[in-house]
């Protein structure tokens, strides 16, 4: 049982590329739910189209990575329109079901044999982001005490966290603009906003598109960072991760998704690393918890986390319980 190992793994998890990417996606989700009150449970769908936009453009069509990024963003916009047009006029829970269903439909289509000539079907696509890594300014690994980041990882992290900061800044400016005030008015009381002559539908749609694009960017970054896409990595569980992150940090707070992601990945990697270490060193008998169970226990933890947070502190760590009323009718 090497406690230093566990701790350094957890720290690496908290600031690593994955945490940055999830923080980025959660920034988009926060715009949807935190600032507009949209119940988007298909955020992973935006990530999927963003990721495949990059992968398909480069691998299948031989375009440049940057064109692929634009295509991915374009796909996110189209997806937001498709999901939003029928459902944004309806009650919030309809949007929730339509988005989760929409994201699943997308996953089924991308993994189907039909789409396989383009998307690679169940095998996905690989090795399409060399252009990105060719730009890597880091040449050596970084060592901070027990923490070791490879040069590749460092480059993804730099880009990831920069994007998080940039988008958070953008969201900050937006929600403190007149546009953002209307957005929050829509969240608090849609009817009141409507009776003041605001086109509630249009505002919700703009928010959905913008948040969706941020989600698409996060998806593209996942694809680039891992140099691979596989439809089954974009399952509904990712959306639930994002919700846990957003609510943990505090929905409708600019720093909420960032703090949420760091804490969430710290705890999740800590748990994971601790259990693996403990079973390997015999502290916990392998009869009680075996290797494959550790991954599952992480989700048990996420579920419990979401459940307890919602019961006891729905505003999260940073949130103001008065700011965000979670009721709609």
């Amino acid at each position: 049982m090497n406690f230093m190992d566990v701790l350094s793994n957890a720290l690496r998890g908290a600031f690593g590329a994955e945490a940055a990417i999830y923080a980025l996606a959660a920034v988009g989700l926060n715009l949807h739910f935190g600032f507009t009150g949209l119940l988007n449970f298909g955020h992973v769908g935006f990530m999927l189209v963003g990721a495949y936009g990059v992968a398909v453009s480069v691998s299948t069509w031989g375009l440049s990575l940057w064109v692929g990024l634009l295509i991915g963003i374009g796909c996110s916009i189209v997806l937001a329109l498709i999901l939003g047009i029928p459902t944004l006029r309806l009650r919030g829970d309809y949007l929730a079901i339509a988005t989760i269903a929409g994201a699943e439909v997308l996953r089924y289509f991308y993994r189907s044999d039909w789409a396989a000539p383009i998307t690679g079907g169940v095998y996905g696509l690989r090795q399409f982001a060399n252009e990105f890594f060719a730009l890597n300014p880091y040449s050596s690994n970084l060592e901070l005490g027990p923490l070791l980041f490879s040069a590749r990882n460092l480059w993804v992290m730099t880009v990831g966290w920069s994007l998080v900061v940039l988008t958070s800044l953008l969201v900050y400016l937006l929600v403190h603009s007149p546009w953002g005030r209307v957005l929050r008015a829509v969240r608090e009381d849609e009817l009141a906003a409507r009776s003041l002559g605001k086109n509630v539908y249009a505002y919700k749609m703009q928010s959905l598109v913008l948040g969706g694009v941020i989600g698409g960017l996060a998806g593209a970054l996942i694809a680039i960072a891992t140099q691979s896409v596989n439809p089954d990595n974009f399952n509904p569980a990712v959306t639930f991760y994002l919700w846990a992150i957003m609510i943990l940090g505090g929905a409708s707070r600019i720093l909420g998704p960032i703090l949420g992601s760091i804490i969430f990945w710290f705890l999740a990697t800590f748990l994971d690393s601790f259990l693996r270490n403990a079973t390997a060193s015999g502290l916990i008998s392998p009869d009680v918890i075996s290797g494959p169970d550790v991954g599952a226990l992480r989700f048990v933890f996420v579920g419990l986390c979401l459940l307890l947070l919602m019961i006891y502190r729905p505003a999260g760590i940073l949130g103001d319980p008065k700011e965000l009323r979670l009721d709609v009718r």
Partner: protein, 471 residues
């Protein structure tokens, strides 16, 4: 209308942009006459032998070499890929001996039958893509004696993990024939009725408490898993009794959840969205707890696993599936009678209609809600057993897979209405099975979910829903 039109246009644009559309056009244009269940591996010749190797844990086994021999001469060989799939193109129709190279099997895996690595006299007809099974077990299990004559083979995609198991599709290349349509209608009714008995509870719970219970799918899984545990070693209780036990466990669990979690939440005046997210957390928690306890394997109920199919006119159906379908419909009728005739049913409808009015007229709303949870949970669990039996597999996220179809059915019929949920679910079942006429089976759930989105576009309150403002 204009925004709707735009939505449809945008949907088309995305489909084409992202390739699914164009790819489909290409595939449909060049579709070979054989193999209407396209495998991930492309058919090289007119005849071939193929299959998917799965280990004892249900995971694909890759890197295993399989050789085909004809009259002592090797005519082809293949190695299973990462999905466990293998395919050997054959020079012509005839009789072949298939040999699995045991030395390439991973550690801890052996063939189920003694000498099962050799399958003799496999007959391949002209133009046939024959699927062959090599049953594999863990080395800790005893090998069985080799069953007498011909090797087992199936013609459907059953062993590749798809739930479609239409026995009537022996040779590929058939189009839309009447018997196939009828067969798929029966399959659709079967699936739809199972979705319906699980979805009735979901819809009634929504009707009375406005809660969208995301953890309903886990009640389905728990039912299937409980029945599996009871009906296999060491208990070996008959599956029918195990199903009843699952019903009871599901009902008690759901009732306990209402008493322990949802009723206190309602008393605190917790917001609906907050409760919705709590149910998502609960669903994740339960689902992965089941994964830890049950493991990620796909299991089979030991009883009624293999049954010869009966021929009823143009339809082939196993007695097991027939009974499950009939039982599901009987249960639906029973639920309808309960709702129409009994005091509790009337009270339940009154609460769903207008909670305050019901309370004012002396109905104990909390008791009504509790009994709806118990009945809904029990039915969901029973539906899980039915689903596990007909699908031939019990696995940890089966309920979650079914949940989206349940949502589709409930919204299609109208949120909150029990009869709506029944009608909607049956439509969802039919859509998903009939889509097999034109589209690959891997997409059948996608079509059902697309129907959901289209219904939201045209008639958001659902088929039987009250025409109230839903937005």
């Amino acid at each position: 209308m204009r925004p709707r039109l735009m939505a449809i246009l945008a949907a088309l644009v995305l489909l084409f942009l992202t390739g699914a559309g164009t790819a489909s056009a290409a595939v449909v244009g060049a579709a070979p006459a054989t193999g209407h269940h396209p495998a991930a591996l492309t058919a090289a010749g007119d005849q071939s032998l193929k299959g998917t190797l799965r280990g004892p844990d249900g995971k694909p086994v890759s890197g295993v070499k399989i050789t085909a021999e004809q009259k002592g001469q090797t005519v082809g060989s293949a190695t299973s890929n990462a999905e466990g799939q293998w395919q050997i193109p054959l020079p012509g129709p005839g009789e072949f001996n298939l040999k699995l190279d045991v030395s390439t099997l991973p550690k801890g895996v052996q063939t189920r039958d003694k000498g099962g690595e050799v399958l003799e006299a496999v007959v391949v007809a002209p133009q046939q893509q024959r699927t062959v099974i090599f049953p594999l077990i863990s080395t800790s299990q005893p090998q069985q004696a080799k069953p007498g004559a011909a090797p087992q083979s199936t013609s459907g995609p059953g062993q590749t993990g798809d739930q479609n198991q239409s026995g009537a599709t022996a040779e590929g290349g058939e189009g839309v024939s009447l018997s196939r349509v009828l067969q798929l209608v029966v399959e659709g009714l079967k699936l739809g009725a199972i979705i319906a008995i699980t979805a009735v509870g979901l819809s009634l719970i929504f009707g009375t408490t406005r809660l969208i219970n995301f953890a309903h799918g886990e009640l389905v899984t728990i039912g299937a898993v409980v029945a599996f545990w009871i009906s296999t070693d060491p208990g070996n209780v008959p599956l029918v009794l195990a199903g009843v036990a699952a019903l009871v466990v599901g009902g008690l669990l759901a009732g306990g959840l209402d008493l322990g979690l949802w009723r206190p939440m309602r008393r605190r005046g917790t917001g609906l969205i907050q409760m919705f997210i709590i149910s998502i957390g609960l669903s994740l928690f339960l689902r992965y707890l089941i994964l830890v306890l049950f493991s990620g394997r796909r299991e089979k109920y030991a009883q009624y696993a293999l049954q010869p199919a009966m021929q009823l006119g143009p339809i082939t159906i196993t007695p097991r599936d027939l009974i499950v379908t009939l039982a599901s419909f009987a249960i639906l009728v029973l639920v309808a009678v309960l709702l129409q005739r009994t005091r509790m049913g009337k009270a339940a409808r009154a609460v769903a209609d207008n909670k305050d009015l019901a309370e004012a007229s002396g109905i104990d709303v909390d008791r009504v809600i509790l009994s709806i949870w118990i009945i809904g949970g029990g039915l969901a669990a029973l539906g899980g057993v039915f689903y596990g039996v007909t699908q031939g597999a019990v696995y940890w996220d089966m309920g979650f897979n079914l949940l989206l179809l349940m949502f589709a059915g409930v919204i299609l019929g109208g949120l909150g209405s029990a009869y709506g949920a029944m009608v909607g679910s049956i439509i969802v079942g039919l859509v998903s099975q009939l889509s097999n006429l034109w589209f690959p089976p891997s997409l059948q759930n996608a079509w059902a979910l697309l129907v959901l989105i289209i219904v939201l576009l045209v008639r958001p309150q659902g088929i039987l829903g009250r025409a109230e403002r839903a937005g």
